[in-house]
């Protein structure tokens, strides 16, 4: 794996507050790393340090081999960065803004035009190119910010909440774009939307109070959920007797009523996350319960997130 981003013991204090505490990780080509954590966990601060905006109190980061403290300009050349809130100059139009970014990144003439056209097409900005950025909707502003980050086709993309403020269609498009770019690049996104981790990330780092609490694939994280391999069963009738019988099964740890408007659904939790579908279906068949639905839960990221971050 080519390591494209290497964070080495990054720490940052603001006075007495330790915002980021000894954070280290590698991101390689083809990886999309999701940075997860509650608000104020240190996600943005870590990203600001990797992109060279904020000097670390200790530690450093390398972007494509260039140390962000020793050679910031070289590191920044390899980087596309969408800061939190997608700031852009309000008086400029997307076209003049992207021209400015192109020329500061060293593209001129036909090359600049080609790159701007490609970025505009990828983010569907054609119809707003001549409007002041000030007058654009939140979704368009975010897309202008993304266009700016992608313009020079960087090897490393750092996107701070790339889909925040977008409607469901736009979210889907941006995620599709990230997935399309992923094989060639190393991408870090921060988010607190767990569905986003499922949709785009190959790996997730959970951070809270400035410390890394988990670094795993989304599947591995889901396996930590108490819902992992739980069985949800929706009965057509009364559930109390069924709950009692289910509880007696050897593999079952507990049975709870699921949140369901009719109150007819049960969640059956396994012991130690072991599959219990076989036992449950055998019981259902012998007891002859009329069932509406029966499914195995994958595990819930928000569960894991809450239990890891202690919320």
């Amino acid at each position: 794996m080519d390591v494209m981003i290497a964070a080495r013991g990054l720490s940052r204090r603001f006075g007495p507050i330790v915002a980021v505490d000894d954070v280290s990780f590698d991101v390689g080509r083809g990886e999309v790393m999701g940075f997860l954590g509650p608000n104020g966990a240190g996600k943005s601060t870590t990203m600001k340090m990797i992109t060279g905006f904020l000097a670390p109190t200790s530690g450093t980061a390398e972007v494509c081999g260039a140390d962000i403290r020793a050679d910031p300009v070289a590191a920044k050349r390899h980087l596309g960065y969408l800061p939190e809130g997608a700031p852009a100059y309000p008086d400029m139009t997307p076209r003049s803004f992207l021209r400015f970014i192109a020329s500061i990144r060293g593209f001129g003439g036909a090359e600049a035009k080609k790159r701007i056209d490609l970025a505009v097409e990828r983010l569907a900005l054609q119809n707003v190119l001549e409007q002041p950025i000030d007058t654009l909707s939140k979704g368009f502003k975010r897309r202008v910010g993304l266009a700016q980050a992608l313009l020079h086709d960087p090897e490393v993309l750092i996107l701070d909440e790339p889909t925040d403020g977008l409607d469901p269609n736009q979210k889907h498009e941006v995620r599709a774009l990230i997935n399309a770019l992923a094989p060639e690049k190393a991408i870090v996104i921060s988010t607190h939307l767990l569905e986003e981790v499922d949709a785009v990330c190959t790996r997730a780092i959970v951070i809270a109070s400035g410390k890394i609490l988990a670094d795993a694939t989304p599947l591995e994280l889901e396996a930590r959920s108490r819902h992992h391999n739980a069985v949800r069963i929706d009965l057509a009738g009364d559930v109390r007797d069924a709950a009692l019988s289910l509880r007696r099964l050897p593999g079952v740890a507990s049975v709870e009523e699921a949140d369901d408007p009719d109150g007819t659904a049960l969640l059956v939790f396994p012991r130690a996350g072991k599959p219990i579908l076989g036992e449950v279906t055998d019981l259902v068949r012998t007891a002859g319960w009329p069932i509406r639905t029966l499914r195995v839960e994958r595990g819930r990221l928000d569960d894991v997130f809450r239990s890891i971050t202690g919320g």
């Binding site: 910031p72 070289a74 800061p83 700031p87 852009a88 100059y89 008086d91 500061i104």
Partner: protein, 244 residues
């Protein structure tokens, strides 16, 4: 330095993207005219020179330059664009220099648009155009020093209003230290060496020296070193405060 040029162009264009440029230029020209003709008694003096015109420049700059410099960094910090700006592959020096040069050239454009005064005195009489040229250069250098000071102070805050007020106050200090009234007052309190030091930091003193018609090397060097010093401070303040 390519980065400086790109930033310079964007910043200069941004002045003209809003009404700011036109408001600034119109007010500058109106005030320059008003002070020259009404306060400076341009006609009554019966002399073909631009002394009354130039002698009010420090006082015009005192009010107008902070309006130009206040947005340079405070606006970037307030809107968060500084995070985008300073994660582009440029050094902080290129950024500081590009912004300053754009503001300075803009003030130069406003100053150049006062050329009708120059035509007027040449129609009315035979002024010493060498003195006028030296005075224009001196005025431009002084505007640069005020701007560099304002740019550094603008990086200290997110509020353009605070940047304006603090810059106006600082410009006022750098101006009045050259006033005979103040120096006379201080003469009773300060030792002569210190008094000379205070007077030598005055923009007004050096500007008035230039208005006499010769750009002495030390007056030009004073303004250029003031610009360099304030821009150096500007870069350090940006580094320290950008992420606050």
């Amino acid at each position: 330095m390519r980065g400086t040029l790109v930033i310079f162009r964007r910043e200069l264009a941004s002045y003209f993207a809003t009404p700011l440029a036109y408001v600034f230029i119109v007010i500058f020209l109106v005030m320059a005219g008003a002070t020259t003709f009404f306060v400076g008694n341009f006609f009554d003096r019966g002399q073909a020179d631009l002394q009354p015109f130039f002698s009010f420049h420090p006082w015009l700059y005192l009010v107008l330059i902070p309006a130009l410099s206040m947005r340079l960094w405070a606006e970037e910090r307030k809107s968060g664009t500084i995070e985008l700006f300073l994660t582009l592959p440029i050094t902080v020096w290129e950024a500081v220099l590009g912004k300053f040069l754009a503001a300075w050239v803009f003030s130069g454009i406003a100053l150049a648009l006062t050329f009708p005064f120059w035509i007027t005195v040449n129609v009315l009489g035979a002024p010493d155009n060498g003195v006028i040229l030296a005075s224009y250069l001196g005025s431009f250098l002084m505007a640069g020093a005020f701007l560099a000071l304002g740019a550094a102070l603008s990086a200290l805050t997110k509020s353009q209003v605070i940047a304006f007020v603090v810059t106006a106050a600082a410009c006022f200090l750098f101006t009045v230290t050259g006033l005979p009234v103040l120096l006379g007052f201080l003469a009773g309190w300060l030792p002569a060496g210190l008094l000379d030091a205070v007077a030598s930091f005055s923009f007004l003193g050096h500007f008035n020296a230039i208005l006499r018609g010769v750009i002495e090397l030390d007056d030009a060097v004073f303004f250029i070193s003031a610009i360099a010093l304030f821009l150096f401070a500007n870069a350090i303040i940006v580094e320290l405060k950008k992420a606050d």
